[in-house]
Every structure is written in structure tokens, then in C-alpha cells.
Amino acid sequence: MLNNPSTTALGLTSILIVSFLIDLLLPLGISPAILYLPILIANIRTPFPAKVMFHFCTLITAFIFIAYMSSASVMADESVIIMNRVLAVIAVWVIGWLCYIIKQGQIRLNEELETNKQKDSALIHQSRMAGIGEMIGYVAHQWRQPLTTLHLIFFNIKDSYEHDELDKESLDTSFEKSKELIETLSSTIDDFRDFFRPTDPSKGREAIDVFRSVQHVLNLISISFQKSHIEINLEIKDTKTHVLNYRNEFIHVVMNVLKNSKDAILDNQISEGRIWIRSALKDDRITVYCVDNGGGIDESNLHKIFEPYFTTKDSYGTGIGLYMSRVIVHSHMGGTISAKNTITPYGKGAQIEISLPIHKETK
């Protein structure tokens, strides 16, 4: 069984090269298929290590070849035959060995890619899990207001009853208001549940509206940011621009970038925290800019912030958030993410730039 189409292609190419070289070296009519045996074997899964199989098959081939050459009634000078035999064996061995090395390199590369992929997906998962505590905080803030109102409505129903003021109309009004509030609570839970639903790469990427995704993040976090006196200015135009991503991943990226801005603003004790989210359309790309006035990033750290486990947040930073964002943007969305320092009307800050290819069917 051949390993995969690429090794098959490599094998076929090798057959051609070997045949050509053998024809060149030995104009005596030897079957290229026999000579290719070691290379072919090197591409087959066997219970023995590929290296052992290669040497074993090359030796067998060399014996078959020598036996063939010896038995053939070759009308040629003895020294030429010997030289041809030696050259042919060396050629088979060298070419086979090269193919073996290429194949091993390929295997190692694939293994490396697979390991990196697993590492990245483990980090993405880890990052999501790390965000759970924070998200529970967001839920608490989202729920506080409707819960307070519900509590007050129930209190007023009881109060009205005790004062003999409860009629059908006021009861219906209270009922409708309560229903509305319960729906709000329920939809908050749906939003958060969606957010934590794991990504299933087998389902493929889906087109998401950039504006709506950013809006969705703001719905989730706005109250928490307000509490920290941070004003978020959404300056993205609703251009119905779509990009491809795996479920919720872009939302996670935006969330991470905003969280970093928030942390910078709080760490640097900026009293009037400001975040601006802007966008620009150019050619086939949409660029989302997140600008804050959190004091900016130390120049020496600018090139490190997207590296795994790099953090300046001492005890509470995991160093995964921005790395994970880069993995998602680069590998899953075919985009780029970069950071630079900037000056805003409210002081120094950082700008994170996310450039994404627009999904062609909907642009």
C-alpha cells in the first residue's frame, strides 16, 4: 500500500529517472521495474524499518541483476560488463538512497506539521478554557440588570395585590415585561454557549459577517468594559463584508484583542479608557483596526507579543491569547495580524491590525 499520492508521484518520477539512468549506463536491456524495487519498497509500509528494507531490497536487486547479467549471453568485452555491473549497482543504490532520504524528510515534515497542528489546537482550547472565568464575569454583568428588574416586577405584583391594585391590565403588562427579560437572560446564555462550543474543523469554514461578529463581541463584553470606565467606539460600517472562519474563531480573536486593550488600560491606570474599532476595505481584503489608549507596547516587545507564552501581565497573563489569535488569523483565515504603537487624542496606545481576505461569493 502506497503511503499517499505525493509519495506515489515521487515513486513514479523516480522510475523515470532510474530508467533513464539505467538506459544511459547499461544499454543492455534490463528491466527498470526490477531496479526500482528498492525505491518502491521504501514507499511501502512494512513491519521492518524502511532503512532495513531499503538495504535488503537493494542487495536482492543487485544479486538479481548480477545473476541476470552473468547468465545473459552478452557479446561484449568482459571489463565493460564488469564496469557496467558496478555502475548500475552504484546508481541503483545512490538513487534509492536519495529517494529514501527525501521520503524520510517528508515523513518528518508531515509529523512536524501534525504536531504543530495538535499543539495549536490544544492552545486554542486552553485559551478558551482560560477565558471561562472572565466570561462568567461577563455573564454576571449581563444578567445583573434584567435580574434586578425582574425582582422589582415581582415585588410590585405582590405589592399591588396587597394594596388591592392588581388588575388584569397591570398583570398582563408585568407578565410581558418579565417574559421579555427572561428571553434576554436566555439569549445571553445562548450567546455564551455558542462561544464555548468547540470548533469542529471537519464542518469546514463558514462565511461570517465582520460587522455582526464585532457587534456580537461588544454585546457580550460591553457592560464589563463600562464597569472599568472604558468606552468602546465602534466605527465599522455595516458593509455586509464576509470572511471565512471556523465557527466563532473570529469572535474569539476580537475578544482577545479587546481584552488586551482593556488590560493595558487598567494596568496603566488610564482614567478615560478608550477603544476604537475601525475597518477599511481595499481590493479583496478587509482590515479591522483595534486602537486603544492603554499606553502602547514596549518597542522591544512589539515583535514578541504574538509569540506563545509571551506575556507582560506577570501573574494573570497566559501568553496564549494573542498567539492563538495569530494562529487563527494566519492559518485558519488566511489573513495577517500585526501590532504597532500609535497616538490617540486620549494618549498613547497600541493598534492591532487584522487584515482578512474577503469571502468572494458575498463580497
Binding site: R144, T148, T149, H151, L152, F155, N156, D159
Partner: protein, 121 residues
């Protein structure tokens, strides 16, 4: 007794105004600190208690209270808020009470009734 109630959230304001209204002779309602401060200035002689949220647009509750405190250091003020900074907490004195959100209505009513009794007694 005239009570000034300041809250920016419509639904909370409508519901709590009804509850507080039962305990006051009259209730003045404002949707932010600025309106609250204006109402206070217009009715400073009559207002005997303030119930206010902190986080509000235009002018927050703490700024409004600070302004009012300049003229009425002894006026009872009840701060009702989900968010209160440690610095703000330190500013609370005997005449300023704090009720966290989600509101424990019983606790709020008890506080209002207690202040009312003190004033009447």
C-alpha cells in the same frame, strides 16, 4: 417627604419609582446625575432623601452627590449600584448608605423607612 430618585435604566426606574413612591409623599424622578442635580437645586428645600444609581450617562451619581453634598452635608443619600469603586466606598459616610445591585428590595425599603422614621421622629 419628597424623595429624589435618579436612575438611567428605564425598566429599573419605572419599577423602583413605584416602590419608593409608596414610601414618600412625593417622588421626583431623574434619568441622570445632571437632571438629578437640576431637580435638587429647584427643590432643595423640600427634598429630604435621595436614592441614586452611580453609573449613568451625562453625569454619574457620585459627581451629582458630591455637588449636592456641598450644599446639604447631612441629607440622607442611598446609593444603589452594581458597581462601586473602592475610592467611592471610602467617601460614604453616615448619611450616605450603599445598597448593591441586584437590589435587595427589603434592605432598601428598610433603609428608606428607617431614614423616614428618624426624620419624622
Amino acid at each position: 417627604m419628597i424623595l429624589l430618585y435618579v436612575e438611567d435604566e428605564d425598566m429599573v426606574r419605572n419599577q423602583l419609582a413605584r416602590i419608593l413612591g409608596r414610601r414618600a409623599d412625593s417622588i421626583l424622578i431623574a434619568e441622570n446625575g445632571k437632571v438629578g442635580l437640576e431637580l435638587y437645586k429647584q427643590h432643595s428645600e423640600e427634598i429630604s432623601m435621595i436614592v441614586s444609581d452611580i453609573r449613568m450617562p451625562v453625569m454619574d451619581g457620585m459627581t451629582m452627590c458630591k455637588e449636592i453634598r456641598k450644599e446639604a452635608p447631612k441629607l440622607p443619600i442611598i446609593i444603589v449600584s452594581a458597581f462601586i469603586e473602592d475610592d467611592d466606598k471610602k467617601k460614604l459616610n453616615g448619611n450616605t448608605k450603599y445598597i448593591p445591585k441586584p437590589i435587595d428590595i427589603t434592605s432598601l425599603i428598610t433603609t428608606v423607612d428607617m431614614i423616614k422614621q428618624q426624620q419624622e421622629g
